[in-house]
Each structure stands twice: as C-alpha cells, then as structure tokens.
C-alpha cells in the first residue's frame, strides 16, 4: 500500500464455485473413506466371526463325533438290552413252561438253570407220579436225564432231577436267542 489510498482485497483462487466443488469432493472422499473404513471393520468382524464359526464348527464336529460314539454305544447298549430282554423273556417263558410242566402233586423246592441243563429239587408222593408226570416231559426236552430219590420224613420222596442237552443244540438255542 505505497501509492493507493486503499489496500487491495485479498485474492484467492478459491472462488465460491470452487469452494462448492472442493466441498463436494471432500464430502465424496470422506464418504469413500468412511465406507472403506466401514468395509474394513465389517471385514474384520466377518473374519472374526468366521474364525469363531470355524472353531464352533470344529467343536460341534467333535461333539457330533462324541455324540455319534455315544449313540453307537447307546445303540449297542440298546441292542444288548434288547438281547438281554429277549433272553430274559425266553428265560421267563422257559421258566413259565418249566413250571407249567410241574404237576400239582409234585412240589419243587429248588431249581437251577444251567447253560445246557436244568437241575430240579423237589418232593413227590411217589416215584410213579414223578416218572409219569414230570420225567416224561423233561425227557422230551433234554437229551440226558438223571433222577435220584431219597425218602422224606413224611413218607414222600425227595428227588433231584438233572437234565442236560447236547452241546450243539444248546449253542443253536443260544444263537436263536
């Protein structure tokens, strides 16, 4: 301001139009950066979630494997239980059948179920009742039957009946069960 009464106005190339353009570009850039930052964050969280999911998947797979083992074990248990149940049913039926075989005049005091045989202890009024009413059906079931008697105090006879099956037939029956 050497010769002029007033000072020249400050000049700037940033006109209002340029200001609008710069503002627009600045906003666009800011939005782009924000979007980029958002995507980075999302990518990070997605990777983290993915990692967690993978770990969960691994854990679940392990769980599934464990559960499958448990299932197979339970299935085996079930099969075994069913087998036992069936065997028990068979045994129950066998016992029921056995007791059905015993006539009313003979009283059993003790019975032993063996793998391939049956031992009965009881009391009979006489040998004939035993031979005709009990020994006959036992012989139809078992291959070998041995009976022994000894007198009781009341004049009846106490008996021991030992009945055995052949080994092959016994195995066949087991497999059926």
């Amino acid at each position: 301001m050497k010769y002029s009464y007033i000072k020249p106005r400050k000049k700037t190339p940033i006109t209002p139009e340029l200001q609008i353009i710069f503002t627009f570009f600045a906003m666009t850039l800011i939005m782009l950066f924000l979007t980029y930052a958002f995507l980075l964050y999302k990518d990070y969280t997605f990777k983290k979630e993915r990692q967690t999911t993978i770990e969960q998947k691994k854990e679940l797979k392990a769980n599934i494997k464990d559960m499958q083992k448990q299932i197979s074990f339970i299935q085996k248990q079930k099969a075994l239980a069913e087998k036992v149940f069936t065997q028990n049913m068979v045994l129950k039926d066998s016992i029921a059948n056995l007791f059905d075989l015993v006539p009313q005049r003979i009283t059993l005091s003790h019975a032993k179920l063996l793998k391939n045989g049956l031992i009965l202890y009881g009391i009979t009024p006489n040998k004939d009742v035993y031979n005709f009413m009990l020994q006959a059906p036992l012989r139809s079931i078992f291959h070998k039957t041995y009976s022994s008697f000894y007198p009781a105090k009341n004049g009846w006879l106490m008996f021991v009946s030992k009945n055995y099956m052949d080994e092959a037939q016994a195995r066949e029956l087991d497999s059926e069960n």
């Binding site: 050497k2 010769y3 002029s4 000049k11 190339p13």
Partner: protein, 341 residues
Amino acid sequence: MLSKILEFLYLKVLVNIVVQRESTLVYIEVCSKKGVVDEAGREFKTILLNDQMYDFIHEYIKESPYFYISILDTSIVQGAIPACEKNKLRYYYDLSLSEYKCFDNKWSFYTVKKEIYEIERKYEEIGIDMIFSPFVLLANFFQDKIDNNLALYALIQDGFISVAVFENSQLLYAEHLDILMKDEAEDILLNEDIDENVDLDLDEGINLDDIDADEANIDSLDEFGDIEDLDAIEDISEFSDSKDVEEELHESDDALPEDEENKTFNEDYQRFSMIQLAVSHFYKDDRYESRFIENVYIADGAGVTNDLKKYLEEEMFFNVYVRQADLGAEVCELAKMELGL
C-alpha cells in the same frame, strides 16, 4: 505458501478505470510473469458502472481470481502537500476528514474519506482494490523530469487538471482543479489582490471578457497572433537557456493537433486559465516555498490542442512540453508498482 504457488500459476488481470466528465475509460491488462498477455480498452458513455461496462470488465476478471481493479481518484477535494511529517501537514491543510499517504517520504497526497467511500459504493458490484491520486500518476509519469528539474507539471484529464510544482523530486506546490468550477475560479482570480511583487502580466494578457465560446465569435481568435509581445518572446535569451531540448525533440515527433472546433478551443482556454490560477496561487501563497517557474510539462490525457501550449508560452512565458498520456495505461503502471509486479 500454497497461495504463492497458486498466485504464480494464475494470470493477473489489472482493470483500470478513469472516470472523465461524461464518460469512463476502462483499460485492462492481462499479465503473466513473462509480461503482458492481453490488453483491451474501451470508453463508455457513462460515469457510472452500467451493464455494458460491468460485462466488459467481468469478461476479463472471470478469467483469473487474481484481478485488481484500480481507479483514478476524481474527487474535487484532493491535493498534495509538500511535507510528510504529521505536525507539518496541518500547516497546509486540515486532514481530519481526509485520507492521506506519504510519497517516498518527501510529500503527501490526500483526498476526502467520504469520496473514497463513495467510489467504493459506486463500484461495489465489481469492487475496488486501489484508488490512485492523480498527483502520484503525474509524479510517476514525469519521473525522469521530476528528479532533476524545477518545473510545473500538469496532468490534464477530461474535466480536471492536477497541477504540481516539483523541484528535484521535492513537491513545492500542488492543486487539483475542476474545469466546471472555472467561472468561480476566474472570479476569485480577478477579485484577488495578487501580490504586486510578482509581475506575471496577467492583466495584460488575454482579456477574459473578450473571449466568447460561441462559434460566431471564433474569428476573434486571430487577435492572439497579433500580440507583439508574444511574437517577440523568442528573443528573450535567458529563457532559451532553460529549454529542455530532449523533450522538444520528443514532442516534435508527436505534434499536437491544431484546434479544430470551438469547443476544444474553449476547453483549452479554460485549462490555461486554471493553470494560470494555480501558478498565481503558488506565487502568492506564503505557505509554499516560491520558485520561479520556467518550464511546464503537461501530461495530456484529454487531447489538448496546440492552443494550450501557445497560451502558456505566449501569455506566461513558459517553455511548454506536452506528452501524450494514456491514463488507463498509466493507472495500470501504478497498479503494477503497487502490487510489485
């Protein structure tokens, strides 16, 4: 730093406005670091900023954000003072309502603050960056002469005359005159009791009452050629010593037009009267250091005819040298100096 780089990259548009009596000159220069890229000038028949002028200026200033609009101060109440010290300024003029600036720590120029505000208000649509005093323009235009001469320097604009007396670049006297105020000034001149010690022969010169601006009376001008005193002026040997030969040679290439119309004649006579008035003030006013003026340098920004030169030479015995001044370009030079371009 960034603004400096941007400023370097952009072109600079310098818009220079010179308001005349009935029209406005607009001169525009587009500058780069290497020099002037483009220039344009146009005269508008208005003294206000109209649409045509606005469009013309806007066409250039829209090219670069670095545009500077300068205007030559046309206020009537303005002038220059041969001092820079604050305590001395008051001796010459009461500057309480004025804006003033010191020129090279040698002299001051001033104008009324109200006029600056008025200019800024008139051109608020485009804005004003610089307002220059015609005395600064005059000092810059005659810089080569001012530095080592004692002379009267006059800047003639269409409607205004700025007169300054410099001695070895030191201002002795300055006055800004409005031609429209001529009649009033003439009355003052005629009524004032001019110091008798200063014999200017003003009363024996052209009789102002005999001059009539009407076309019918133009023939009466022939009387000027018959004045014996003026015919014999070249015989005065002491004046011939102080002639500026270089300026005369320069002037011969650029001969002034002869008076073509009465209007021009009338205007030149008015100008002569104003210069005469200013000279009388300079000699008469005790506040100013009086020196005998022999040479007059005129910066012609309005197209003066040879008559003015003739009047000054024949009536006041001055050696008169006239230089054509493109005011728009001169204001542009000041703007460049101000901006350091």
